[in-house]
């Protein structure tokens, strides 16, 4: 069992999806155990695949780009002219992604046993989780851009179904619709980009396209345009500016889903895509700059919105958008290793934070921070693990987030420019502030809604176990950057020596830099503590401090309103005009008008048929004279 069998990973879960989706009503416990069992099998096989990858890695040549493991021809027109191969590709990026997806998916599936207990459509929930994980694994092992697109839409579908899981709530239905259409706009660009790549390179195979690009097969302008289209897909899926609007609304879905799909896995698909295509992006630096500045704007903007959001899940959603922005900044600077490293650590601590918030919501049935407070006494495990996750997010040494964020900041200073570094560092401070605010308002101070507080209790063990495991990962996941740790895990080195485009980078610990980063994170936490230390009045004061600014942030820079206005006025307006054109011009004038004019002429002409002999005789006489005149003229 090795890399050739990597296709089994999604296949097992796809099978579980089909069985549970169709027959969950007949299965004990609605088939949740079947999905979890399938996930365990996937983890075992995934482990074997990674082991195989390691042996391959050790003996002989060092081949960072892995091996084209398996291939199945799906479509072939004209003997190789237009070929879609179902091919897989395992390299270090794939290995990182498989690890992240499997661990988080398993944690979420186990956690959901408690969280979703007693829900109607419980079986359907697990079926869609299996579908999602299958599609996500297909996405990360695919060696062909069209198969990537295939899986890309598959995860989008699962996301749509899970955001709309509580579809009886109109808000959930609207959020699902918004997510699907917004990401679909990005996907239009993605598909155009794929086809444009094919148009010149004649293949959808990722490695062949990269090879073609490195040989200089594409024209400079052509490739720039193409890669920007491709990047649109990443912008939509990873909720980057200006298509970030769907992610906060996506929090309508069940909380474990938010942890899996909207924090740890699906939303990083865009980062994965750009990392995967980085050798091509390297050919066109303008496109890379677009990636950089998109990420930078998003990181800063989302962090400011996170400062004022009152819904615990939405704060985390803004935080996710912001952290994804960090990853895109790293990619824009050409550092796949920093981006993938942050992706790796972020997955664990953000999943932890989401599952922690789920534990709070489960206990209090409230998710607005105004109604929470003081919960650390009621939910000690949740509070402790949540604080660990928050410190990791804020970037406190030695937690996971510190190392990866440090790597990105380091890259931005070395590869980028000072302004980029300054914006990122400021955003890191903002991150610490809103994280502190969230922790304080939720777990400290006086309870503000006594009904919710009295009702609260620690979650069952099946939910706290995943929290504990993830909190351990949130502490240690960052250590994979060290060479000895990587070697101990069986790899040839730390994560940055594994994941790269051109040359492996050895991690250097820069004491002064780390000190600066830690101090700025502590500074942020200090501001947060000073401002919100458990007092509702202080939260009020924050609001009145700069009401216009507060309104701007709370309304998310009015971008959602702007989009809604565009849809209502422009799109539906144009549709109304065209529908009216179809009714009035095409149907009423064109078709009915034609028919009516025939009947009108028929009506008029029938009066010629008078039935009086003299009239007919007159007509004949006129005719004869006219014909005679014509005959004379011509002769």
């Amino acid at each position: 069992m090795g890399m050739e069998q990597v296709g089994l990973l999604p296949a097992i879960l796809a099978g579980a999806f089909v069985v549970v989706a169709l027959f969950n009503a007949f299965l004990p416990r609605r088939g949740d155990w079947l999905v979890i069992l399938a996930m365990l099998a996937v983890i075992v096989i995934g482990f074997l695949v990674i082991k195989d990858f390691q042996t391959y890695f050790h003996d002989g040549e060092f081949m960072p780009r892995g091996e084209n493991a398996y291939s199945f021809e799906w479509v072939n027109i004209g003997d190789g002219l237009f070929v879609i191969d179902f091919s897989t590709w395992v390299d270090s990026i794939t290995v990182v992604m498989i690890t992240v997806v499997s661990i988080v998916a398993l944690m979420v599936m186990v956690y959901s046993v408690g969280y979703m207990h007693g829900e109607q459509r419980y079986g359907w929930y697990y079926a869609v989780l299996a579908l999602f994980t299958a599609a996500m694994l297909t996405l990360v092992i695919s060696g062909n851009l069209l198969i990537t697109y295939f899986a890309w839409e598959g995860v989008g579908l699962a996301s749509f179904l899970l955001i709309g899981f509580y579809w009886e709530r109109q808000s959930a239905a609207e959020a699902a619709k918004k997510a699907f259409i917004t990401t679909r706009i990005g996907d239009v660009g993605f598909l155009i980009g794929i086809i444009l790549l094919w148009r010149e390179a004649g293949t959808f195979d990722i490695q062949q396209i990269i090879h073609f690009a490195e040989e200089g097969g594409f024209g400079e302008t052509y490739l720039t345009v193409t890669m920007l289209f491709l990047f649109m897909g990443a912008v939509g899926k990873s909720a980057q500016f200006p298509l970030h609007v769907w992610l906060p609304d996506a929090m309508e879905g069940p909380t474990p889903v938010s942890a899996l799909i909207h924090a740890a896995t699906m939303v990083v698909a865009g980062v994965y895509l750009v990392a995967r295509m980085m050798p091509v992006f390297d050919q066109v630096l303008i496109a890379r700059d677009v990636v950089l500045y998109t990420g930078l704007i998003t990181a800063a903007m989302a962090a400011t919105m996170g400062l004022v959001a009152s819904d615990i899940k939405r704060v985390l959603a803004f935080s996710t958008v912001s952290q994804l922005g960090f990853m895109f900044v790293a990619l824009g600077l050409g550092s796949v290793s920093a981006a993938m490293f942050h992706l790796f650590t972020h997955a664990f601590f953000k999943a932890l934070l989401f599952l922690g918030s789920g534990s709070v919501i489960h206990a209090t049935e409230r998710q607005e921070v105004e109604y929470l407070g003081g919960l650390r006494k009621k939910q000690p495990i949740t509070a402790a693990t949540f604080i660990i996750g928050s410190l990791a997010l804020a970037g406190i040494i030695p937690l996971a987030g510190f190392w990866s964020k440090d790597e990105i900041l380091h890259t931005s200073l070395n590869e980028g420019s000072l302004p980029v570094y300054v914006v990122l560092a400021t955003t890191a401070v903002l991150t610490a502030i809103y994280t502190t605010r969230l922790v304080l308002l939720t777990f400290f101070g006086e309870p503000r809604d006594h009904h919710a507080y009295d009702h609260a209790h620690e979650s069952p063990r099946i939910m706290t176990m995943p929290l504990l495991i993830l909190s351990v990962l949130a502490v240690v996941a960052g250590f994979v950057v060290f060479t000895p740790v990587g070697k101990a895990l069986g790899f040839s080195g730390g994560i940055t020596e594994l994941v790269f485009v051109e040359e492996p980078e050895k991690f250097h610990f820069d004491g002064a830099f780390a000190l600066g980063a830690t101090l700025s994170a502590l500074f942020g936490i200090g501001i947060g503590l000073a401002y919100w230390w458990g007092r509702a009045e202080r939260a009020e004061r924050a609001r009145s401090w700069a009401p216009e600014l507060h309104a701007l942030l709370v309304n998310r820079y009015y971008m959602d309103d702007l989009y809604q206005a565009i849809i209502n006025r422009v799109v539906l307006g144009a549709a109304a005009v065209i529908a009216l054109f179809d009714k009035r011009v095409v149907n009423e004038s064109g078709i009915d008008g034609g028919a009516q004019s025939v009947s009108w002429f028929g009506f008029r002409l029938k009066f010629l048929q008078t039935g009086k002999i003299p009239n007919y005789a007159l007509a004949m006489a006129v005719g004869v004279v006219a014909l005679a005149l014509v005959a004379f003229r011509t002769s």
Binding site: F150, E168, R184, I192
Partner: protein, 496 residues
């Protein structure tokens, strides 16, 4: 495929005709007998269609299973082999035969609940089916046109007698437009006949004849508009939304599912295969018409509130893709067009089946009147969402395979049009998801608490259609191989 399979091709046309004749002798009160007879006939047709599709040798580009019986020769203007009953199958007709088999069976099942003059309904329906099958397999221009008209004419009665909402208007409009269009086809056919100078209607011989390029340029648009009207080609689509809105369920299914494909099929058979130079000259026109229709239909659908009208405009949009694919003049794009004919056929039949299942109970199709239907009719909703996902081009379902080929083909020829075509898919997603979020989700509207889940026959029909959608979506090569080989070898001037 051996030449003896030609008898099966003939059977495709004789079985429905025989069923119609037999039905005339069944007393109308014997509903059981009517159901048994139509059930058996549609099942045999389905099995035959699947068999012929699978037996078709996908590496052969020529007609397979060819059989001919001379009907008239050496009289009047007819020379040797003037008019023959000649059947044969190529890689374009094969998927169409399969499509007809699938939709006829599903359409028959859902029509069993018709109470009003059931027997007469099925007689007309099977005459229509005979015409459709016949047109796909006939290799003689005379019978081609005869059966083409046979497929179209029963529509008038089927809509006017068994229809709903403005049925007389819809039936009349459809019939007038299609008959007017037939005049163009008729003219074109005689121009081809006389220009070829063979004194024969044999299609295989007509393919090889020489036609003056100027003549081709004049008559190709006549054929394209004539057949295109049946295919719902913009701006001659006006009959389609009204006709669909008025037609009973099975007729909508067959009409949108199969008859509209007959139009596009006619353009390939008469236009591209006989008049390739004319087609090449007018290809940019087809592209223009196609992309206009795709955008126009999709944007119009955004504003429709009647489910059937929305589906009708959606059909105009999706058939626009077909004309666009044909206009690319390369094998990938044109294969996409034929794939889209199949894909659109099954998904639109599914839509109409489901809309019928709702309308028969609620007598209402206005989207804003519905809300939270997923609660009341979950199975119905799931089928509808699968159809919608196929329609908006979700990978894994039929629509994506077809659209991908069309997009790729268009990008090779006209990148900007290709970009607009991909954008259209996003608009499709918008109107479908708006409809889902309005009608299926949210609080259930108590007004509809009396509605029942769709019947078992409807579920069975929908299942067959969904399985077809999945089959093409997950394993497209049986379709793609057959279609692309034929297109690459039988149309001169088509590039790979």
């Amino acid at each position: 495929m051996s030449s003896n399979d030609g008898y099966l091709l003939l059977a495709l046309f004789l079985i429905p005709l025989g069923t119609a004749v037999l039905l005339m002798f069944v007393p109308s009160r014997e509903r059981g007998a009517i159901i048994a007879l139509t059930g058996a006939a549609s099942f045999v047709l389905f099995v035959l269609s699947v068999y012929l599709f699978s037996r078709f040798d996908y590496e052969g580009a020529q007609f397979q299973g060819v059989k001919a019986w001379t009907w008239m020769e050496n009289i009047g203007f007819l020379g040797e082999k003037g008019i023959q009953l000649k059947v044969g199958l190529d890689g374009i007709a094969a998927p169409m035969v399969l499509l007809t088999g699938i939709i006829t069976m599903a359409g028959t099942w859902v029509s069993w609940k018709i109470q009003h003059r059931t027997k007469d309904f099925f007689i007309l329906l099977y005459v229509l089916v005979a015409g459709v099958y016949g047109t796909f397999v006939m290799l003689d221009l005379f019978f081609f046109f005869l059966l083409y008209e046979t497929a179209v004419l029963p529509m008038y009665l089927l809509i006017a007698v068994w229809g709903s909402t403005r049925k007389e208007y819809g039936a009349m409009k459809l019939m007038m437009m299609l008959v007017a269009a037939s005049i163009l086809i008729f003219t074109g056919i005689f121009a081809i006949f006389s220009e070829a100078g063979l004194a024969s209607f044999d299609l295989t011989r007509l393919f090889g004849a020489h036609y003056d390029p100027t003549m081709q340029k004049i008559f190709f648009p006549m054929i394209a508009i004539g057949c295109g009207t049946l295919g719902g080609m913009f701006p001659f689509h006006a009959w389609s939304p009204d006709g669909h809105a008025a037609a009973p369920t099975a007729v909508s299914m067959l009409h949108a599912g199969v008859l509209m494909k007959l139009g596009a099929f006619g353009i390939i058979r008469l236009g591209f295969q006989i008049l390739p130079e004319g087609a090449a000259f007018w290809a940019p026109g087809l592209i223009t018409v196609g992309i206009t229709a795709a955008l126009y239909g999709a944007i119009s659908a955004l504003r429709q509130t009647d489910l059937k009208l929305m589906s009708g405009f959606s059909s105009v949009s999706h058939m626009g893709y077909v004309f666009m694919g044909l206009g690319t003049l390369n094998v990938v794009g044109m294969s996409g067009a034929v794939l889209q004919m199949f894909a659109h056929g099954v998904m639109t039949a599914l839509f109409f089946l489901l809309i019928g299942g709702l309308y028969d109970q609620s007598h209402n199709r206005d989207i804003p009147n519905f809300s939270g239907m997923a609660k009341q009719m979950p199975i119905w909703s799931i089928f509808f969402i699968i159809g919608g996902m196929a329609s908006l081009g979700l990978p894994g379902l039929s629509g994506f395979v077809a659209e991908l080929h069309i997009f790729v083909g268009t990008f090779r020829a006209y990148p900007i049009v290709g970009g607009l075509a991909v954008l259209t898919a996003a608009i499709t997603a918008t109107y479908l998801l708006r409809m889902f979020s309005q009608a299926f989700f949210g609080e259930m509207n108590p007004r509809w608490s009396g509605l029942k889940e769709i019947t078992w026959t409807e579920r069975a029909g929908a299942t067959v259609l969904v399985l077809s959608i999945l089959a093409l979506g997950l394993w497209p090569s049986p379709w793609v191989d057959r279609i692309s080989t034929t297109l690459a070898h039988t149309i001169p001037g088509v590039s790979l």
